[in-house]
């Protein structure tokens, strides 16, 4: 069972892909429009790299 929940507010996402590239566990992918989407939620280790580097405040990582 994954320890973390990755919440994504797509309305704020501008498709910069920083989260996709920086996540060490490949949690994020891209949807058809190019916006971020959570593809491997279970891999999340709660390092917060995505949250702190998202320029648009789309991501929140929560401990379950």
């Amino acid at each position: 069972m994954a320890k973390y929940q990755v919440l994504l507010n797509k309305a704020l996402c501008k498709s910069c892909e920083i989260c996709v590239e920086l996540c060490p566990k490949k949690v994020f992918g891209r949807d058809k429009t190019g916006k971020a989407e959570v593809v491997n939620a279970d891999n999340c280790i709660g390092c917060l790299i995505c949250e702190e580097h998202c320029p648009d405040f789309c991501i929140e990582v929560r401990e379950k």
């Binding site: 910069c16 702190e52 648009d56 405040f57």
Partner: protein, 273 residues
């Protein structure tokens, strides 16, 4: 959005910045640092100039002054002198601070008034579409330097140290934890503190300089920076071409408002005695 952000934002996102712009990352680090500092929002003033990064004050739920191009520091000086107990944070861009505001900047460094200046350096004038600034590296391309800039650039941190700033640090938008820590240390320093933040402008800088994607600039910043603790142990050859981050300078000097109040007290003693 995490509570730490909700607490200090005005609830008017999305912001105006482009995809991959570092301004949001700086605002995020500032919000976390601000939360840890535990300051009173009513007694905090955010001041900014003009440019992309200066729009940051519009999103922060503080007393905020979005001033004129280059003029953030004089406004902040008036605020701080009137209410020395206020926490004052000044946000400026590279062109804003180092070109049109350059004179104000060196004099603010010299005066040593207790406030924190955060210079968001994305190497370019973003708002006007990518002209070179005094911090654009020599040789880089810009809309007004289509063949590469022949204008030598400032090292704004060295300039700040030379002008007398008592706390000078450099952070960047890749090393977010370090940036958060630097903002806290800068505020806690008594006197004029300066943080240069290396940031990203994929649209106006990156695309002209073979780094078109947001991650290209992120990787550039990751590769070019080196923490001061490591740099101190390296030879000049080893750190050639690197940009040192961390607290670059800290010294003690009399703070302006304290000097002013000491003068006032002296006059009162003279009057009564």
């Amino acid at each position: 959005m995490r509570e730490v952000y909700q607490k200090i934002f005005r609830d008017n996102l999305p912001h105006i910045w482009c995809a991959g712009c570092g301004n949001g990352i700086v605002m995020s680090a500032f919000a976390r640092a601000y939360d840890k500092l535990g300051l009173d929002k009513d007694k905090t003033v955010g001041v900014s100039g003009i440019g992309c990064s200066s729009r940051i004050t519009g999103y922060l739920d503080l007393n905020t002054l979005h001033t004129a191009h280059g003029r953030a520091l004089p406004f902040a000086t008036g605020v701080k002198m009137t209410r020395p107990e206020f926490a004052v944070f000044v946000f400026m861009g590279d062109g804003d601070c180092a070109a049109i505001g350059g004179n104000h900047f060196i004099h603010a460094c010299r005066r040593n008034m207790d406030m924190t200046a955060i210079i968001i350096n994305n190497y370019i004038y973003g708002m006007t579409g990518g002209q070179f600034s005094p911090l654009t590296p020599f040789g880089s391309k810009a809309s007004t330097a289509p063949y590469g800039s022949v204008d030598r650039n400032f090292d704004i941190c060295s300039l700040a140290i030379g002008a007398g700033a008592t706390f000078v640090a450099r952070g960047d938008v890749y090393h977010t934890k370090q940036l958060e820590k630097l903002i806290i240390e800068a505020h806690e320093h008594k006197g004029f503190s300066v943080i240069e933040v290396l940031s990203t402008c994929p649209i106006s800088y990156g695309r002209r300089n073979k780094m078109p994607k947001p991650m290209d600039l992120m990787n550039y910043i990751k590769d070019v920076t080196i923490a001061k603790e490591r740099a101190d142990k390296m030879t000049a050859e080893e750190i050639a071409g690197k940009i040192v981050t961390g607290v670059l300078h800290q010294s003690a000097a009399v703070e302006y408002n304290e000097a002013y109040m000491a003068m006032v007290e002296k006059l009162e003693v003279g009057k009564n005695g």
